[in-house]
Symmetry: C2
Subunit: 204 residues, 2 copies
């Protein structure tokens, strides 16, 4: 016998787990064995919840966030301010910003960022849809677009690209502030963050 | 609107992911959104692989490892030495030991360890089955039982418990060695490991 091999059904399950972000082969094996330790009903519930989520969630035709209702919770909410649109990379970012309970405007989800290195061009993102929204009849006069893409190279590139496109429309483009996270300290901040924190200083 | 809520199908999927070891609520949300980013076919394959694994894998009636064939790969392999049984807590441990490609005996999987604190008593483990195996006709004269439970409190308790039960049967009980991991260094070793490494020293 040439070494112990995993059963084909287990190999397949490990392959599936290993697709998840942050899951390597060792964790995938641990998760696969964990699944076997669950009662049959719970495994079935897990299995069904994957398909249910995928089949139920769709893109909001206005802001392109993932939603189970059309339009989404935010777009249908008449108490939200319609003069501001916050542009984010992913639907999860909408939830992050909502948790801060500070923002009352609308959103637009790009579904990624511009990354020529990884072959993600502007036309692969919901950018055309953003501008249709801004120029369209139902726009209701958007005055500000907040660019809340991630503070990495791709996110900055995307923000810069959008800011340039927004300029001729006379819509104010703003970028979320970079700086020292609240509750953190200077000692732990990296140089790039510190430089941005200094540049973005405000009069007290 | 009282804050943004996740769609019920997403809440359910996050709840399922959060059951996995090492997955907290933030990771569960990230994994749930990742699932939505996969093509429908891939989600279906993932979903099916969970149920397939659970429905296919059973316990080997001899060593109680999780297997898709009966008896399992090891128990059916006539080239394995039948005088030695290596006792482990979980099926995954069998694969870990097999990767070392050094051991040629049989296994016995306990499915846990003794932990009075967590209500895991000897009768909840495959201990009765181990002794039926040692005393039974098909035993073929087992001479040594290697106790390869984990080197934590529960694993040590289990090893001690089994060693005491093996004594009257005249079967040699051995415990895997504790010590400094190969490739590691003394500086990183904790005090308990170092104490065990010193105690287990050998003449060179």
């Amino acid at each position: 016998m040439a070494g112990l091999y995993h059963a084909p059904v287990m190999q397949e399950l490990m392959k599936q787990f290993a697709k998840l972000p942050g899951v390597g082969p060792k964790t995938a094996q641990r998760l696969a064995f964990f699944i076997l330790s669950l009662p049959r009903d719970e495994v079935r519930a897990f299995s069904e919840s994957l398909v249910n989520a995928k089949e139920t969630m769709t893109l909001c035709p206005i802001c392109f966030s993932l939603t189970d209702i059309t339009p989404c919770q935010v777009c249908r909410d008449e108490t939200r301010e319609r003069q501001t649109i916050c542009v984010v990379e992913e639907t999860a970012d909408v939830f992050s910003i909502e948790r801060a309970r500070d923002y009352r405007g609308l959103y637009h989800v790009l579904h990624g960022s511009i990354s020529p290195m990884e072959g993600r061009q502007p036309e692969n993102l919901k950018i055309k849809e953003l501008f249709s929204r801004l120029e369209g009849e139902g726009a209701g006069g958007v005055r500000e677009v907040i660019l809340a893409t991630n503070p990495d190279v791709e996110g900055e590139t995307t923000a810069l690209y959008l800011a340039r496109m927004l300029k001729p429309l006379g819509i104010k483009a703003t970028r979320i502030a970079h700086g020292i996270p609240v509750g953190s300290n200077l000692e732990h901040a990296d140089a790039a963050t510190l430089a941005q924190a200094l540049e973005g200083r405000r009069v007290m």
